[in-house]
């Protein structure tokens, strides 16, 4: 299979041939003897679940991580150094385009294209007219009509991505002798409209036609099948296989990604949908979310998930008015809120609590103490004859710290002095002490170690068993499987699948996410039943 493919591609030596790549974090082997080969002119897909080792592999190529000894890297038949020295990737002709693109929005296209040169070279008398002409010529070569004098922030999202890719490719060409180079695109498509994705694919194909190699990282199997020649799939840090993309169908890919292993036993998830409804969302629309409706029942933990860009992560912030929704209603404990007009304090007054993902930017203030942070929503309970009672506030913070196993349990410390997991315990305690009707969390365990995760899950379970309804937006299937009674799967801003009972397992959730792009939206009414 691989041989037949090889004959189709000109050029003798592969662009990239990396072998025996392993990486250990602590006592966990996150990459285990993985190899990857990219041929000249090839677009090579890289797939795997969260935690499968894809990003570790890319970070090793970028020089962020050092691989374990024994790894080999060969480019165009010449051995290259590993671990990658600083600036080594660029000298070898490897360029990266990450999802956030690394463009400066307030500068023009041509300024962004020359950003790296300007940062590293001292030039006087830059001729901007000539630079703009050069940029225009480059765009013309790829059949792109982008004005080099336009500011990035005035361009549509697609053109921004195209500029970033062209920039990366031009840098590769400058660094190596003609036509060589490796472009690594790390999930460039989730936030692009359909037409934009096609435009991006045309650009990627014409770059590959020049003889460079492209690694295309994505969760979207249809895209992988459309754009890539071959694909490498990682599973739990091991190589699950390298396949010719056209030869494998959608389900075949899912099997390679998820594997055929039996899920670990999990206690049966009781069906709580017969309980009274705690909160009901109807026809919610907003940025990246279209006409979503669902209900959460008392004591139920409901997961919201989907691939990146599915809109699942936006739902809690729209419901809390952290972001403005276009339309929708939200009924909680007898109050009905119009989501297009409410403010966070209205949501709070209705008994809703929201723990955002941005821990020290939106959830808590790092430069203030644990006591300050934890006491903010309950200050009125601590009013004595002489205003706020600090001894009682400190005592509350200390006892919550004990209950939630915050280490070190010293309420006078600044929040920023705690590790991610401990800060998250404090912030969860901050909201759970208000005994909300509905608690919403966005990526609650990002950057949280395994031990602290168990504490957080136990706290969530405890709150649910007392009747609090909980919504968790997350892309971590394992975590959702561990805590949720039901999981709503999103794609294109709509609910496309609902998993409940025994179906709430890591593999079923991952599978549903991967299939989600091919499913049509469930009608809101079906769910409300």
């Amino acid at each position: 299979m691989s041989e037949a493919f090889r004959r189709r591609h000109r050029g003798d030596a592969p662009v990239l041939d990396v072998r025996h790549l392993s990486k250990r974090f602590g006592n966990q082997l996150v990459l285990d003897d993985v190899g990857l080969e990219v041929l000249p002119g090839e677009v090579h897909g890289l797939l795997g679940q969260n935690g499968s080792g894809k990003s570790t592999l890319i970070k090793i190529l970028a020089g962020f991580h050092d691989p374990e000894p024994g790894a080999e890297l060969v480019m165009y038949g010449e051995a290259a150094r590993l671990p990658m020295p600083a600036g080594g990737a660029r000298a070898l002709g490897i360029a990266f385009v990450h999802q956030h693109l690394a463009l400066i929005p307030s500068l023009t296209v041509v300024e962004n294209l020359r950003l790296n040169d300007l940062a590293t070279q001292n030039r006087v008398a830059i001729n901007w007219r000539r630079e703009a002409e050069k940029a225009r010529a480059t765009f013309a070569r790829f059949d792109l009509a982008i004005d080099p004098r336009a500011r990035i922030q005035d361009l549509p999202q697609v053109e921004r991505a195209l500029v970033a890719i062209v920039r990366a490719f031009e840098e590769v060409k400058d660094a190596t002798a003609g036509g060589r180079g490796l472009l690594i695109l790390d999930e460039p498509t989730p936030f692009l409209p359909k037409a934009g994705v096609e435009q991006l694919f045309l650009l990627v194909k014409s770059i590959a036609a020049d003889g460079a190699g492209v690694i295309f990282v994505s969760h979207d199997i249809d895209e992988i099948r459309e754009i890539t020649d071959r694909a490498t799939i990682l599973r739990d840090g091991k190589l699950a296989g390298t396949v010719v993309s056209k030869d494998v169908d959608h389900d075949g890919f899912i099997e390679l990604i998820v594997g055929r292993k039996v899920s670990l036993f999990q206690s049966a998830k009781p069906d709580l949908t017969a309980r009274p409804v705690a909160a009901r969302v109807a026809s919610l629309s907003g940025p990246m979310v279209e006409d979503v409706g669902f209900a959460v029942h008392e004591g139920e933990i409901v997961g919201l998930t989907g691939l990146i860009g599915s809109g699942a992560d936006r739902v809690p912030s729209l419901l809390y008015a952290a972001q403005r929704a276009r339309a929708g209603t939200f009924s909680v404990g007898g109050t009905t809120l119009d989501l297009a007009t409410i403010l966070p304090e209205h949501a709070m007054a209705a008994g809703i609590a929201f723990l955002p993902a941005d821990r020290l930017g939106a959830a808590g203030v790092g430069s203030l103490s644990i006591t300050d942070n934890i006491s903010l929503p309950v200050l009125s309970d601590f009013m004595g004859a002489f205003g706020l009672s600090w001894p009682r506030l400190t005592e509350r913070a200390r006892s919550l710290g004990r209950d939630y196993e915050v280490r070190p349990n010293r309420p006078e410390l600044n929040l920023s002095a705690l590790s991610g997991g401990n800060a998250q315990k404090v912030l969860l305690a901050k909201w759970l002490q208000t005994e909300p009707t509905l608690l919403m969390l966005d990526e609650p365990t990002q950057g949280v170690d395994v031990g602290a995760r168990q504490t957080l899950f136990a706290a969530l379970n405890g709150a649910a068993s007392k009747g609090t309804a909980i919504l968790v937006a997350s892309t971590d299937a394992e975590q959702l499987a561990q805590i949720c009674h039901r999981v709503l799967v999103f794609a294109g801003g709509r609910i496309v699948d609902i998993l409940s009972g025994d179906a709430v397992t890591k593999d079923r959730i991952t599978e549903a996410c991967l299939k989600s792009t091919t499913l049509t939206a469930l009608h809101p009414r079906e769910e409300a039943a």
Partner: protein, 330 residues
């Protein structure tokens, strides 16, 4: 293993924290003793001490006005101009137009509230940085002051004002000092012991956190600007009471000392936060330094050296307290 830290009350006294909190008080005492030793007759006289306490109460007032928007994360550079306007309005209304003193005072404070509203409107509605807005409005107000005063000093104000500000003394100290002390106590209480003070602090430190915790961030910032405008105008009235006349320029020289005292004060008592008693201590630390140095016969330019130097040193010190995290006043 962590038994000791887990038991409440067993934590050892944090000497480093206390040293940090009272370093400025200690420096004030040292400075006082040094000048007292060098110039025992002039410096240690009760007349000098009470003059220092009384004459700089105006600066205490203005600094306290300033720390309100600073705590909420906004600069107010129009405070000194508002002070001058408040002073000039009382003078013009009372001395030139014969309006009764209480009415003139209410008008002046009302003007301060209007200035606060204008500042808040530009900052909150147009989303302009407070530094730029108040720099502009301050200069604008200054123009109004020169216009209504005809660029000249106005005297002849109802002597009752002077009586109730500096002439009447309690324990030998002019009443204005007690006014300043009262305001400091009020702010200390509001900042530390009311939920309003907590909201102010969160608005200043984390706008998004505050918003998502149900605080109406814009409303809090709006009232902070109004409070600083009204207190600044009140400071102007006390300034008239202190010198018995209103001149269109001298009030503006209070701007930098107020900032120096606010930032120096944020290194004391409650380090890392703008606080009322820290500001009070900082004002008198600066005053003792300047009075002492001028008694030693050093030229008047020492004032600028001292205030300017203190502002930069204070900010540098407070950055050390904050472990050099980037400052975010936006």
């Amino acid at each position: 293993m962590s038994e000791a830290t887990a038991t409440p009350g067993a934590a050892p006294i944090n000497w480093k924290r206390h040293a940090e909190a009272y370093a400025l008080v200690f420096a004030l005492v040292v400075l006082f003793c040094v000048f007292g030793a060098l110039k025992p007759v002039a410096f240690l006289s009760w007349a000098n001490i009470s003059t220092m306490l009384g004459s700089q109460s105006v600066l205490v007032f203005l600094t306290l006005a300033l720390i309100i928007p600073l705590t909420a994360g906004d600069f107010d550079l129009s405070i000194a101009a508002t002070l001058t306007l408040g002073a000039m309005m009382v003078a013009v209304l009372n001395a030139q137009m014969g309006v009764p003193l209480p009415v003139a005072m209410v008008c002046a404070i009302g003007a301060g509230a209007v200035i606060g509203m204008v500042n808040a409107w530009f900052v909150l509605y147009f989303r302009i940085h407070s530094l730029i807005v108040t720099l502009g409005t301050g200069t604008f107000i200054n123009g109004i002051v020169l216009w209504i005063s005809g660029s000249s000093t106005i005297s002849g104000i109802d002597p009752v004002l002077v009586t109730y500000v500096v002439v009447t003394r309690v324990f030998g100290i002019p009443l204005v000092f007690y006014y300043a002390l009262t305001l400091a106590i009020v702010l200390w209480y509001v900042f530390g012991y009311t939920s309003l003070g907590r909201r102010l602090l969160f608005v200043g430190r984390g706008r998004e956190v505050a918003r998502l915790s149900g605080i109406r961030v814009d409303r809090v910032r709006f009232f902070c600007f109004i409070a600083s405008g009204m207190i600044s105008a009140t400071t102007g009235i006390l300034y008239v009471g202190t010198i018995g006349a209103a001149d269109p320029n001298s009030g503006n020289t209070f701007l930098l000392p107020a900032f120096a005292a606010a930032f120096l004060g944020a290194t004391a008592i409650n380090p890392g936060r703008f606080n009322a008693f820290g500001s009070l201590i900082a004002v008198y630390f600066l005053v003792i330094g300047i009075t002492g140095l001028s008694m030693l016969g050093i030229q008047t330019y020492v004032q600028n050296l001292f205030y300017g130097g203190a502002l930069v040193t204070a900010v540098a010190l407070s950055q050390l307290v904050r472990k050099r995290e980037a400052q975010d006043f936006s």
